[in-house]
Every structure is written in structure tokens, then in C-alpha cells.
């Protein structure tokens, strides 16, 4: 069971539900060497946005009511579910292990930046051969 930090809006049960839900959304993959979204480091990142996550989780649990399993990912077509998905996905895909597995360098874009394939302006030859296409005005 994951324990909520002091001052957290989550009860122990909510925290555990959220962790299991995150792990179900994005499960670990041994073949790819990928953690699940319930991994302790990623889950701690998710909980950084505690107030927003709590509202989304409450919304999801309320929407699921007694009849639907909140762990059923197929039923999660609600604003609360989309909010939760977004938070989990943002945190998951900035984890260094995930970034490395995707072939990304583990660093922010700035200050190194990136290389991009240069332009081949010879491709413009057919366009240059056309007459002007702007409309003349009287």
C-alpha cells in the first residue's frame, strides 16, 4: 500500500486506488524494460500535483458510482478521467527510464537544443517555375 505524505489530501485507500489505477493505465513492461505508472518514483511525481489529482480522482470515483469498477479503463470517458490520464501521461513520459527507452536524451530541450535535417531548397524548382499566383487588385 502507498502511504500519503503528511498534509496530503489523499486517504490511504485513495492513494492505493490511485496507484493501482496508474499501474493499470500504463503497466510495466519487462520486455521493454519499462516501469509502470505506479512505480514509486513516477507515482511520487504524480502526487506532486496533489490538489488537481485529488479532484480528478474524486470525480472519477463519483462518476463510476457503485455500478462500475473505477479500474475499468474503458468506462473512463469523463472529464475527470481525461484529466487524470493527462496527469499520469505527463509524469510517465518525463521519467528518465522511459525517456531512455524511447531513445531520448534525458535532458530538457534548453540549453543544448536539437539538430534538425536542413532544407533542400531544390525541391522548390517546380514552384518557382509557376507564374505568380497572387490576385492582382485594381
Amino acid at each position: 500500500m502507498s502511504l500519503p505524505a503528511s498534509g496530503s489530501p489523499f486517504s490511504s485507500d485513495e492513494c492505493d486506488t490511485l496507484r493501482r489505477l496508474a499501474d493499470r493505465m500504463i503497466p510495466a513492461s519487462e520486455n521493454d524494460g519499462l516501469p509502470g505508472a505506479g512505480d514509486p518514483v513516477i507515482f511520487a511525481d504524480i502526487l506532486q500535483d496533489a490538489a488537481r489529482v485529488h479532484v480528478a480522482l474524486k470525480g472519477l470515483l463519483t462518476a463510476s458510482g457503485d455500478e462500475t469498477d473505477p479500474m475499468d479503463l474503458n468506462m473512463a470517458d469523463s472529464a475527470a478521467a481525461r484529466e487524470l490520464h493527462q496527469i499520469v501521461v505527463f509524469c510517465y513520459y518525463r521519467d528518465p527510464r522511459v525517456m531512455r527507452a524511447l531513445g531520448m536524451e534525458v535532458r530538457p530541450p534548453f540549453p543544448q537544443g536539437f539538430d534538425v535535417e536542413p532544407s533542400d531548397l531544390s525541391l522548390l524548382e517546380p514552384v518557382r517555375k509557376r507564374a505568380s499566383i497572387y490576385r492582382k487588385v485594381p
Partner: protein, 534 residues
């Protein structure tokens, strides 16, 4: 800070306010700009951290309602399919824009004459041409001369941004179809330019350029204007403009950084607060002489709001493209820009490429498209999309309709208690037909480029970047708010220089034209200094 009268007071430090301030500084008048936000800190822009994707969708969101900074005023856009984007701080919308810098076409200024719709502008392309060129130099535009979609003479000062793999694929597709394309004009430094470092392909144009390569006006016009003596007052939010018994503006009532209400007297007032902020100030400026809002005897303040309805056409490819790397825009096509009656609509649109997405944004798009599941199969499906999506955006000309408008919300207020704007907007049949055409043609392009799947969104909801038309320019005081050189018909020392004065929207990003207009109006003011109020 003194409350003594100043010569010129500019409200808003965005694209148009910066240009007019810089141009007027050589008059040596005492010029002050009031800006409700602060100066952006590029060291804190999202691309400086691993959480850049989340911050772009959070504290640097383009919607003021989502961002919710203290300097942001709320906008009630519940009654519009297109939601308002802005940035409230020095630089205005240019801080978060893509820096796409196409000009209007000559035909855009003559839509009534050519197509029998809307109204002609009281200025034309030829008149604005020297101001376009001056603005390109000040903003530092990268591009390529010789585009057959424009009259000769457009010569960007720097070479274009690299097209990358995605630009090449789409350029080859345009060639296959025999359609026009050209490298985008972008206000992005591709070499060291006026104190700016060259672009290093951060891919973060839309959340602020940490490199300082992007031409946002906080790094282009403002340093020059401030060195030239223009005074910037940040965290000053204008509530209303006051007038005297002679219908002359006397100054502004504003809240300072401590929330204290103050009055600043001024001899000349210039509104540069964008197509939502400007009518908001005018409509909040109610007096005995102007019971319906300042400068509103025509009844047109706030009316004729134009966005640019956007369609997104996203292609999924088998081989890797650029992903999140590189400037947001690379090439455009204006094959469908000018009116062709066979298409079932008047006017037209521009296709512009939108490079790619980061990993999280890719997965979220995949979830929406049904291409990436949660749970089993997530990783394999996500990998099939990573760096393999590129997009076209179609930016469609929006024609003015009086029922599309900015008014004051009866309940919503900002942090100073000032009534907030409310947007009422519907898409016209012409816009819908244009969007449908763009989606159809966009699919053709993506298919010709080799996309294995194509997804479309029309209109894009969160795409109200361009706020135009709400204090339109014209020679007839009954049918316009400002005259042909930007002065209010009703208040002879009040000028408007932002997108509010646009008569029509064109089918391109408006910043280049908006700033050229601002420089033109500043030039007109300088030429008429001795009889400015006659």
C-alpha cells in the same frame, strides 16, 4: 512615479504597442506604456525543465482561463466554439506565438471590390509595403525571397528555418499534387541578429523561447524603445479611459501593482490591448457623453469579432519525422488562398505545417484517436506513433459579422473587480465550407506524403489566437470606430493600433500586418503632430 500629464500613454505592451512606441520615440515626447502583466523571465520558460510538456498545458497554457495568473483577466468564452488565447505581460501574444509571419495579400485589402463581401480597407498593400519591410527588419524575420504567392520585393533579412524531415515529406507531397508551397516567413533568428542568439530547434515556440531566438517584442522592439526613452510601467491594469466635456480623453483610471486605484493624465492615448482587451476597456469607459462605451457612437465597439477558424489535419507515418524538435512552423501553402467560386466559398485559407509533438502529447493524441490504448498494448501502440506524426493547420479567413462580438460579462470580473469580457461567436456557413474544403485537401496532401492514417479536427477549439475586428477602421463614422489613420472618429486624441481595427481577417497569421499597421499609424501621427486633433 508622477501622475503629472504625460504626452502619450500606450495601453498594452504586446505586438502593436511595442511597434507604435518604438516608432514614436524619435519624437522625444514623454511616452509611457502601461502593461497589466510583468516582464517574462526566459530562464523560467518550460523548455528549461524535463516537465516542459506538462507546463505547456499548465502554467504556460495559451488560455488565460487555464493559466490563471494574477495578471490574467478571465474571459467568458462559453458561447463560442473557438476559445480565446492570449498572454498578459510585456510581449503580449508574441511570447507564446509560433512567430509565423506571413503578410496579408494585396487582395485582402479589397474584398468588397473583388468578391462583394465585407468592406475594403481604407489602406492598401502598396501603402503598407515599407512598413512591412521595416517591421521584418525589427522583428528579425527568416524566410526566402521569391514566393510567387506575393508581389515581388519581399526579402526577409535571414535565411529560412530548416524544413526538417516533416517539411520535406510535405513539400514533396505538394510537388506531387502540383500545388504551391514555400518556406514560412518566421520571426525567428536563424543567425545571430540584433542581440538575439540563433534558433537551436528547442521545439518550444508556443511556450516561450528560452534561447531568445524567437522574435517576441520583449526582445525585439522593447529594448530599443526603452533605450530610446519610452517608459514601461508593468503591473498596471487600466480600468477605463476618462473624457472631458469636449469629447477629449484626459487619461486613464488604473490599478497599480499594489491594487491601488490611480489616475494618470495624458494628452494622447493609444490602445494596443488586442481585439478583446481593447473593446473591453472602451465598453468599461462609460460616461454621460458615451453611455454605450467610449468611442462607440457607431455602436460597433466589440462587434465584428473575427478569429481565424482553424482545421488540423494530422498524418501518422511509418518512418520517423522530427517529433518535438524544431521550430513549430516550417513551410506553408497558399494554393487555396485567393477566391475561386468553384469551391463553394469566398476568400480562402493557408496551409501551414505544424512540426510534431513531444512524447506525452503524442500519447494523449493517440488516446483521443483510439490509436493508443490504456492498459494492455499501450507501449507497443505508443511506439508506433512516437516521432511519426506531423500536422497541417488550415488557417481560414473569417469574415466580419456584427453578431460575433465582445461584450461585458454581467457577473465575471478580474482580480481588480473590473468587468471581464464575454465572447459570443458562431461559425458562418462560409467558414464551415472553407474548413470542410481544407480537411478534404489536407487529407489529399497527407495521403500523397505517405501517411498511413489521417485525423482531422475542425474547428480546433483552443485556437483563438487572433482577435480581430472589434473597433474597425474606415472612413465612415457610422460604419467604423477609427478613421483611416487609426484615430477614433469620436475622440480626437484616442488611437487604436491593435487587431481591433482590422476590417477583414485575411487567411494568414495577422502579426506582420498588425505591426505594419501600427508603424503606419505612428507615421501618420508624426506627420500630423502640429494638427493632430483637428
Amino acid at each position: 512615479m508622477s501622475d503629472d500629464p504625460i504626452d502619450v500613454l500606450i495601453i498594452g505592451a504586446g505586438a502593436s504597442g511595442a511597434a507604435v512606441a518604438w516608432s514614436l520615440m524619435d519624437t522625444r515626447m514623454h511616452i509611457v506604456c502601461m502593461e497589466q502583466g510583468g516582464v517574462p523571465d526566459s530562464g523560467r520558460f518550460p523548455s528549461t525543465g524535463l516537465d516542459w510538456e506538462a507546463r505547456r498545458a499548465g502554467d504556460h497554457h495559451i488560455s488565460p482561463n487555464r493559466r490563471g495568473w494574477p495578471e490574467d483577466y478571465p474571459v467568458n468564452d462559453d458561447h463560442s466554439p473557438i476559445k480565446v488565447a492570449n498572454y498578459n505581460g510585456v510581449g503580449g501574444g508574441t511570447v507564446l506565438y509560433a512567430a509565423h509571419f506571413p503578410r496579408f495579400h494585396p487582395s485582402d485589402f479589397r474584398v468588397r471590390t473583388l468578391d462583394g463581401v465585407a468592406d475594403d480597407w481604407p489602406v492598401d498593400y502598396e501603402t503598407l509595403e515599407p512598413f512591412f519591410a521595416e517591421n521584418d527588419r525589427m522583428m528579425g524575420v527568416a524566410g526566402l525571397a521569391g514566393d510567387p504567392a506575393y508581389p515581388p520585393g519581399k526579402t526577409p533579412p535571414m535565411p529560412p528555418i530548416p524544413m526538417g524531415r516533416s517539411g520535406r515529406r510535405l513539400a514533396e507531397a505538394f510537388n506531387t499534387l502540383g500545388w504551391h508551397w514555400w518556406p514560412c516567413d518566421l520571426a525567428i533568428a536563424t543567425e545571430a541578429y540584433d542581440g538575439r542568439a540563433p534558433c537551436i530547434n528547442l521545439g518550444a515556440c508556443l511556450s516561450g523561447c528560452a534561447q531568445g531566438a524567437k522574435g517576441s517584442v520583449d526582445v525585439t522592439y522593447w529594448p530599443h524603445a526603452q533605450r530610446g526613452g519610452v517608459e514601461m510601467r508593468t503591473s498596471c491594469r487600466v480600468r477605463e479611459i476618462a473624457v472631458d466635456e469636449n469629447d477629449m480623453a484626459t487619461g486613464v483610471v488604473y490599478f497599480d501593482e499594489k491594487g491601488v486605484e490611480r489616475f494618470q493624465a495624458a494628452h494622447v492615448l493609444i490602445l494596443a490591448a488586442n481585439g478583446v482587451g481593447t473593446p473591453r476597456v472602451l465598453l468599461n469607459s462609460v460616461s454621460k457623453a458615451f453611455p454605450e462605451g467610449l468611442a462607440n457612437r457607431s455602436g460597433l465597439v466589440g462587434k465584428n469579432l473575427m478569429f481565424h477558424p482553424y482545421a488540423a489535419i494530422q498524418g501518422v507515418f511509418d518512418d520517423p519525422l522530427d517529433g518535438y524538435k524544431g521550430a513549430h512552423k516550417s513551410i506553408l501553402s497558399q494554393e487555396f488562398y485567393e477566391t475561386d467560386p468553384q469551391r463553394g466559398f469566398v476568400r480562402g485559407y493557408t496551409f501551414e505545417t505544424s512540426r510534431g509533438m513531444g512524447p506525452a502529447a503524442t500519447v494523449l493524441a493517440g488516446l483521443e484517436w483510439g490509436e493508443v490504448p490504456l492498459g494492455d498494448g499501450h507501449h507497443a501502440a505508443a511506439r508506433k506513433l512516437m516521432n511519426r506524426v506531423t500536422s497541417l493547420a488550415a488557417i481560414c479567413e473569417d469574415l466580419p459579422e456584427e453578431h460575433n462580438r465582445v461584450s461585458l460579462d454581467p457577473d465575471l470580473v478580474d482580480s481588480n473587480g473590473i468587468p471581464a469580457p464575454r465572447i459570443s461567436y458562431t461559425l458562418s456557413e462560409n467558414s464551415r465550407a472553407m474548413l470542410d474544403h481544407a480537411c478534404e485537401k489536407g487529407r489529399e496532401i497527407m495521403t500523397a506524403a505517405g501517411a498511413r492514417k489521417v485525423f482531422t479536427t475542425s474547428p480546433i477549439p483552443m485556437a483563438g489566437w487572433h482577435l480581430l475586428g472589434t473597433a474597425r477602421m474606415g472612413t465612415d463614422p457610422e460604419r467604423s470606430v477609427v478613421n483611416e489613420w487609426g484615430r477614433s472618429h469620436d475622440v480626437r486624441n484616442l488611437f487604436i493600433v491593435d487587431g481591433s481595427i482590422f476590417v477583414t481577417s485575411g487567411g494568414v497569421n495577422p502579426t506582420s500586418t498588425l505591426q505594419a499597421m501600427s508603424l503606419y499609424i505612428a507615421d501618420q501621427i508624426k506627420r500630423r503632430l502640429t494638427n493632430l486633433f483637428d
